[in-house]
Structures are given as structure tokens and as C-alpha cells.
């Protein structure tokens, strides 16, 4: 990554590593070891389902916590600590800085997720279950978790461009929870028999990211397949949504005074 955003991205990744962010992997490893031993003793025949469910949920939750809490401070921390001053005095555009920060956190989340996925595979191996073709859905589930994290990180970055870390956390969490229940909110509007409510719920449905479509953990646990169309639809949806959010973040940040 010999570009300016690449330089910023590598430094962002280095910051996460030096701030011991990846220590969460130890917690995940302990969780997986404990679950594998416990499940081996108490469950007959459902050990696969329990471990996949637990493992993927933990990967998703840990990733989300990291994406939100690191994401909301990506820009505000640089402004607050004034490390941004000497950086923006270099020949770098503000959008390049934002792209670098975003890519750096995504790289951190990718490395973190890959290590957790290896931990999940090790736990499945420990309970003595041979890998089967249906396990491909686990890989898809992990891919969808990464797409979800890419969306959440972009939102956290957008909010961090104009508000404090605490408000940004609230906004990001709010959008995430709304996105998880986006389909239910739309259905509620449809049955309300009010044109205004239906308009608002439909607007929310289209505005917030539809995270429901990214959750295939249950299918992975039961060894069910995932339609190929959903994979590319989610990929395209994430690419377009992230691009729009990052353009919004650039528009906000490019005109901001760094007091």
C-alpha cells in the first residue's frame, strides 16, 4: 500500500495493534476452548450447532464492538490530540486521510476476524467433527459479518466527522439497531393503515442499512446453504452504501474547521 491512504491505513492498523486492541482474541480463544470442552460433555449430536452459533455470534459481537468504539474515535481522536495538524500540513487531501483511516480499521477488523475464524475452526476440530460441504456457509457467514462491519465502520466514521465520540456511539448504535429491525419496522408501517406512518417507516427502511440480510448464522449452524444471489446482492449493497456514506463523511469533513 504505497499510496497516501495506504500509509495512513498502515499507521491506523499499527495504532490498534500497539493499543492492544487485538488482545480481545485471547478472550475469544478462551471462550472457544471453554465452549468446546463444555459442549463435548453436555451435548450429544448438537455440538456442531452450538459451537458454530456461539462462535459466529461472538465473532459478530466482538467485531461490532470494535467497529463502533474504534470507529467513532477515528477522526475525533486525531482532532482532539491534534495529531492531525502536522499530518494535514503534508500534501494529502482530507478524503485521502478519511479513506486511510477507514481502510486501517477495516484491516484491523479483517485480521481480527480471520484469527477468530481460525479459532472457531480449531474448536470444531477439537470436538472431532469432520468438515463437510455445508460448512461453506460458515465462510459465507463470516464474509457477511465482515460486510456488516464495513457498513458499521463507515457509519461510525461519518458520525465521528462532526460529533463527539459519545454522540457518535449513540448514533451508530441507533442506526445499527434500526437496521437490524428494518424489515419489522417496514411491516409495522404497512399494517398501521396510516399513510404518514407507512411513508416514514418505508423511508427508514430504505435509508438505514438492512442488516437483517447479513445474518446467516442460523443457516450456517444448521448446515443449510445460502443463495448465491444473496452473496452478490449483499456485496453490491455494501459497496454502494459504504461509498455513499464515505462521500458524505468527506463532504462533512472537507469543510470542517479544525479548531
Amino acid at each position: 500500500m504505497n499510496t497516501l491512504p495506504g500509509t495512513v491505513a498502515v499507521n491506523t492498523f499499527r495504532e490498534a495493534v500497539r493499543d492492544r486492541v487485538l488482545y480481545n482474541l485471547i478472550f475469544f480463544a478462551l471462550l472457544m476452548i471453554g465452549a468446546a470442552i463444555l459442549v463435548g460433555q453436555i451435548s450429544i449430536g448438537i455440538d456442531r450447532m452450538v459451537i458454530i452459533n456461539l462462535g459466529l455470534s461472538a465473532i459478530s459481537l466482538i467485531g461490532l464492538v470494535m467497529a463502533i468504539f474504534i470507529g467513532v474515535s477515528l477522526v475525533s481522536k486525531e482532532i482532539e490530540k491534534r495529531t492531525l495538524y502536522s499530518l494535514l500540513a503534508r500534501p494529502i487531501h482530507r478524503w485521502q486521510f478519511l479513506a486511510g483511516k477507514y481502510a486501517g480499521l477495516l484491516l484491523t477488523l479483517l485480521v481480527n476476524t480471520v484469527f477468530m475464524a481460525i479459532g472457531l475452526a480449531a474448536a470444531l476440530f477439537y470436538v472431532g467433527r469432520p468438515f463437510v460441504r455445508g460448512d461453506a456457509t460458515i465462510v459465507v457467514a463470516i464474509y457477511f459479518i465482515l460486510l456488516e462491519l464495513a457498513l458499521v465502520t463507515a457509519l461510525a466514521l461519518l458520525f465521528s466527522c462532526y460529533s463527539s465520540p459519545m454522540l457518535s456511539t449513540l448514533f451508530t448504535l441507533g442506526v445499527y439497531i434500526t437496521g437490524v429491525f428494518a424489515q419489522d419496522i417496514r411491516r409495522a408501517g404497512e399494517i398501521s393503515q396510516s399513510v404518514a406512518v407507512e411513508f416514514v417507516t418505508r423511508a427508514i427502511y430504505y435509508l438505514v442499512p438492512n442488516f437483517h440480510n447479513f445474518n446467516v448464522i442460523a443457516a450456517a449452524a444448521h448446515g443449510e446453504g445460502v443463495p448465491f444471489a444473496l452473496i452478490w446482492q449483499n456485496t453490491l449493497y455494501t459497496a454502494v452504501y459504504v461509498t455513499l456514506v464515505l462521500l458524505g463523511a468527506t463532504a462533512v469533513f472537507s469543510g470542517r474547521d479544525l479548531k
Binding site: L4, T7, N11, R14, E15, R18, D19, K81, R82, T83, L84, Y85, S86, L87, L88, A89, R90, P91, I92, H93, G255, D257, L258, K259
Partner: protein
């Protein structure tokens, strides 16, 4: 005649204040200033005068309400302008999880150096600012002076033509200040233009080809430090000793101060011969006679005093 290296035309910055009823506070008021190639230019002013605002505007960290500025002919909106400048922010903060070597390497990556040249430059500038032995220490363990030196190194390691330093001597001990002064003089000898803000007037007098004085966001004057103050002599200061048992005439004794047996007397230039005659009669031993001229500090304090008085009058009138 070559165009000025820094051209500031009517630069103005208003900040909003208040939550419900937005008011605008003018931090910089139509600043027009030109700095020539190779000059060391001192930007003087008390705290809150608008010095840091000016530097932030030039760096593109904040945006002007009015006015424009160019550095080496390029607008401050043009990111490519930043290839030719170096900047040390006031109270510099850096990524404290990095070592000094990693920090300089990081900043060097924003210039188009080959890997070998980048490494060579990092080592050269670590030594130049006296951080060679602390190259592998994380910045969170650095003292303020060491951080300032790391800041200067990052500002000059890409060989910029114009160097902007915001309060480079602030918080440094006498040795640190001397080192920074030496670096500024070295930069001048290399033909670079140095624009630095300070409120330490002795540094400005010592280093600057020209200074600009900013008070209350307005430029009060620009020129060589010696020309900023009137050339006429205020008075003559005479330092002398008296032999044992001798006393000064009563009027002269009242006007002089005595410390450790030495007398210090300040007299108007036209009275100096008469006073010397009296000292001869008193058999005084004259140790020195010095012309007392107004200093840059006198000029500065007078301007600040005038501005504060004007602000106070305006506030009273508003009430």
C-alpha cells in the same frame, strides 16, 4: 523583483460563539502581509492575537471567512502547495505509540522519496535535532523539549522551501531554546524562508530579518526589528562607583539607584555633560555610559496597552 514567497491578502477569520444565539467573533481581521524569499520572519503578538489562527489558515486546517493567501505562488487551497512547506504546530502532539524513528519515517512517506533516501533522511534529521540516542523510544516517554525537537525534525525532513513554526521556543529550557535558534539560523543559511510565531521578543530580535506585530487580530506594524522602534535615544544610563566617604549631591542621589556599591543613573541626553561634571567633582569612577533606546518590547507593550484600552472603551460604550 521576485514575487514574495508568502502573500497574504486580506485574510479574515470569524468564529461562531454562543449556542442559541450565534455571534461571530473576529479572530483575524483583514491581514495583508508579504514575506520575501530567504527571510526569517517573526510573527509577534500576545496570546489570543491571532498568530495561530493565521498559521492554521495557511496550513488549510481552518478556512478563511474572507481573503486569500499564496505560498510560492500557490493558493493555500492547493494541496500540492504542501510539498514545499514544513509546519510545526503549537504544543505539538504526535502518535505517542510510535518511536521517534517511526514517526519521522511515517511523515517521510508523504514525500516522494525512495525507501533508501527515506531511511537516510530519517537518520540524518534524528541526529540533527539531537534525538539520535532516543530514536527507538516511544514518544509517550518523551519530555516536552524532546517532543518539540521531534516536531521540528518532521517539519524539515522533506527539505521544504518554507518552514512555518508556531511558537517553536515555547516551554523549552534555555538550552532547548538555543538549539531551536541554531536550527532556525541553519535553515536561513540554507536559503529557506522561515515564518515563526512567538511572544518571546528577544528571540525575534536575535533571529528575524523582519517582524510583524499582531494585536487583537490586526496587524499593527511590519519591519526589521530595529526599525520597528524609534531611533532617537531616550536617555543615557551611567553606572559609577564612589570612593569611601564621598557622597552624591542630594538631587542626584535621589535620582540614582544603588546596588552593591554601584550607582545607576538615567539622565536625559542633553543633561549628560552637566551630570558628568558633577560626578567628576564627587571623584566618582564611571564604569559605563549606555544609550537607552526603546526596545521592541517597549513597542510591543505599548501596542498591546493601546489595543486593550480601545477594547475596554468599546465595552464601556456598549454598556
Amino acid at each position: 523583483m521576485a514575487a514574495p514567497i508568502i502573500e497574504i491578502e486580506g485574510l479574515t477569520k470569524d468564529y461562531p460563539s454562543g449556542f442559541w444565539r450565534k455571534r461571530w467573533k473576529r479572530s483575524l481581521d483583514h491581514l495583508t502581509l508579504h514575506v520575501e524569499d530567504g527571510e526569517v520572519f517573526g510573527f509577534l503578538g500576545p496570546n489570543g492575537a491571532g498568530k495561530t489562527t493565521t498559521l492554521k489558515l495557511l496550513m488549510g486546517l481552518i478556512f478563511p471567512t474572507e481573503g486569500t493567501a499564496r505560498v510560492r505562488g500557490r493558493s493555500i487551497d492547493d494541496v500540492s502547495m504542501h510539498r514545499e512547506i514544513g509546519y510545526l504546530p503549537e504544543h505539538p502532539y504526535f502518535y505517542d505509540y510510535l518511536t521517534a524513528r517511526e514517526l519521522l519515517d511515517y511523515y517521510a512517506r508523504f514525500s516522494e522519496f525512495s525507501a533508501a533516501e527515506r531511511h537516510a533522511r530519517v537518520e540524518k534529521f534524528l541526529k540533527r535535532v539531537g534525538l539520535g540516542s532516543a530514536a527507538n523510544v516511544q514518544l509517550r516517554k518523551f519530555s516536552k523539549g524532546m517532543l518539540q525537537r521531534a516536531g521540528i525534525a518532521q517539519a524539515i525532513l522533506h527539505d521544504p522551501k518554507v518552514v512555518f513554526l508556531d511558537e517553536p521556543m515555547s516551554g523549552l529550557d534555555p538550552v532547548g531554546r538555543r538549539e531551536v535558534r541554531d536550527i532556525i539560523l541553519e535553515l536561513k543559511n540554507e536559503g529557506k524562508t522561515v515564518f515563526f510565531s512567538t511572544h518571546i521578543l528577544s528571540d525575534a530580535e536575535m533571529l528575524c530579518d523582519r517582524v510583524g506585530v499582531l494585536v487583537g487580530g490586526k496587524l499593527q506594524g511590519v519591519g526589521p526589528p530595529r526599525e520597528m522602534v524609534p531611533v532617537e535615544v531616550h536617555s543615557i544610563e551611567i553606572v559609577f562607583e564612589l570612593p569611601d566617604g564621598r557622597e552624591l549631591p542630594q538631587r542626584m542621589a535621589a535620582q540614582s539607584t544603588s546596588i552593591g556599591g554601584r550607582y545607576r543613573l538615567s539622565v536625559p541626553e542633553e543633561d549628560v555633560y552637566a551630570v558628568v561634571d558633577q560626578l567628576r567633582i564627587a571623584q566618582a569612577r564611571i564604569l559605563s555610559m549606555t544609550q537607552v533606546r526603546p526596545t521592541l518590547e517597549d513597542y510591543f507593550i505599548r501596542l498591546v496597552g493601546q489595543e486593550r484600552a480601545a477594547t475596554h472603551e468599546a465595552e464601556v460604550a456598549l454598556r
